[in-house]
Amino acid sequence: MAVESTALASSIIALAGGVDNISGVERCMVRLRLILADPDVADVPAIASLPGVALAMHLMGQLQIAPTAHLDDLHATVVDAVAAARP
C-alpha cells in the first residue's frame, strides 16, 4: 500500500511539472488538490490515466486528483516530497 502510494505520488508529481511547480498541497475526503505555479504544464490526461487514479481535472484553480484508494498515504507522500524539496 505504501509502496503503491510512493510510486503514484512520484508519477503525479512528475506529470504535474515537478515539485518546483507545486506551490500548495491540500486535500478533501476524496481529492488530492494541488495548487500549481503554472497549471498549463501539468499533463492532466496522463495523470487521469494512471492506474489508481479515478479522475483528474483542473477545477477551482487547483489540479484535483481523486485516487481510487489510500488518499491518506498519497497526500502524506506528496506533502513530504514537496517539503523535502524546499530547504
Binding site: 478533501c28 475526503m29 476524496v30 479515478a54 477551482m60 481523486a66
Partner: protein, 289 residues
Amino acid sequence: MKVAKVFNNSVVLGTDEQGGEVVLFGRGVGFQAKRGDVVDESLIERRFVPGANASAERIAALVDELPGEDIDLTEKIVAEGRVALGDHVTDHVLVPLADHISFALRRAREGAPVIEYPLRYEVESLYPEELAFARHALHLIEEASGVPLPDVEAVPLALHFVNAQFGARDISTTMNMTTELAHLLDIIRQEYSADIDEDSTAVARFVTHLRYLYVRGRSGIRRDLETPPLAQAIKATQPREHATAQRMAEYLASRYGWDVGEGEVLYLSIHVMRLTAGLGVSTGPGDGS
C-alpha cells in the same frame, strides 16, 4: 449590504450591517461595482456564508464553476438534513457538500471507478443517523440528476453531516476524530472481550459524549477540574468500569497530551456501565441486576 470585494461580474463579497461576510452570486451583481457600493439586492440569486472550511475566495471560484442545478440539489439536501439531523446542519455545510456532490456526479457520469473509502465501518457503527440520512440524500441526488451513486458514497456524505455538528471545521479533523472514537470503543471491547451492541441507544449516547469530549480536547477547553465525590464512589463500587474509563483517559493523554481529569473519567465510567450492562458479566458489588 455593501460591496467588500468584486470577484467578477456575477460574484461579489458583501458585508451586512453587522459586518458579517456573505458571498453573493447573481448575473450582473458585480458589473461596474466598486468596494463600498450598495449591493443591488434585486440581482442576487444565491447567498453563501464563508467559514473556516470555505473561504470567500474558494466559494467565489466554486459558484463560478459548479453547475447551478448541483447547488440547487445540495440546498435541498441541506434543508432536509436540518430537519432530520438538527439545526447544527447550517448553511456552512452547503459549499463543501455541493463541491463534493458535484464531483461525485462528475465521477459517475465519466464512468470513473468507485472509490474505496476508509472509515466505512467506523461510520456505519458510530454515526447511524447521519448514514441513514446520507442514504436518503443519495435518493434525492438520483431523483434530481438521474444518476444513481453507489451506496458507499453515503459514507463521505455522512461525514459531511457529522462535520456540520462542529461548525465549518476542516473535514480531516472529523476523519481523525472518527478513527479515535472507534479506537475508544475498541478499548471497551478488549476489556470485556465482548462486542457491544452497535445499534443501541447506549452507543449513540456514548458517541455523542465522545464527540464533544474530542472537540473540547482539541480546543483545549477543560471542565470538571474538581474531582466530584461521586467519582470516588464509582471507583470503589465499579472498579472494572472505572479502570476501563481510566484506560481511555490514558490513551487520550498519551496520544494527544490531554489531561481529561477525574471528573471526565467519571462520565466515561458511567457510559461504560451502560454499554456493558447487557453483557451478563459481573460488574462488581454495585451491580444490582
